[in-house]
């Protein structure tokens, strides 16, 4: 079953605006990750936040994690047309061996209008 559930499913904004995407999950995690996918391409890892962290920045990206609410948000500031893509959150339960895997949400489609 899907662990991460992103919200909204689709988001359309004007270039220069900020984009906020949310992810909720159900079970305890070791870390949460965000990925980006351009149409017809593989996923690219954006950022990882550990369960003991509350906020993390990387360039124009800001990720927050609230383990009490089992939720995370990804903020892209000053969006650009090139940010148009699908964004996925993925939860890592921290298992080893046979439990070594991520669980991905269904993704958010972000469209940035020039």
């Amino acid at each position: 079953s899907q662990q991460g559930e992103e919200d909204p499913q689709a988001l359309s904004i004007q270039e220069g605006e900020n984009a906020t995407m949310n992810c909720s999950y159900k079970t305890s995690i070791n870390n949460l990750q965000w990925y980006r996918q351009n149409s017809g391409r593989g996923l690219v890892h954006l950022i990882l936040i550990r369960s003991n962290e509350r906020e993390k920045h990387s360039g124009r990206l800001r990720v927050t994690l609230d383990t009490s609410k089992k939720s995370s948000s990804l903020l892209i500031t000053a969006s650009r047309a090139a940010d148009t893509a699908s964004y996925f959150c993925a939860t890592d339960g921290g298992g080893t061996g046979a439990n070594s895997k991520l669980t991905f949400g269904k993704g958010i489609t972000l469209s940035v209008r020039p």
Binding site: G40, R41, G42, F88, F104, G105
Partner: protein
Amino acid sequence: SQTIHQWPATLVQPVGSPLSLECTVEGTSNPNLYWYRQAAGRGLQLLFYSVGIGQISSEVPQNLSASRPQDRQFILSSKKLLLSDSGFYLCAWSVPYAGGGREQYFGPGTRLTVT
């Protein structure tokens, strides 16, 4: 640096035909390897993962199988394709868990259309 290759990029196969998709990783040893399927406009469904040669874990019962004959080679196969096997197949690798979190690195994907 590490790279991951998948081939072919696109494939059109008739129902009932066999399938073999290959994924290879360069520049790392003993990676964890993963096969995902993505239906049009949908999220990723984990199909198989492997933590070592010959070690395959299956996530969902299906018409597909996976093998890992070498450390950095992961193969997805089917003896007889179904229409429902159509989709975008992604291979990914990660370092073995070391307590520090594991990003996954994805290949470019294979677009499979079963006709």
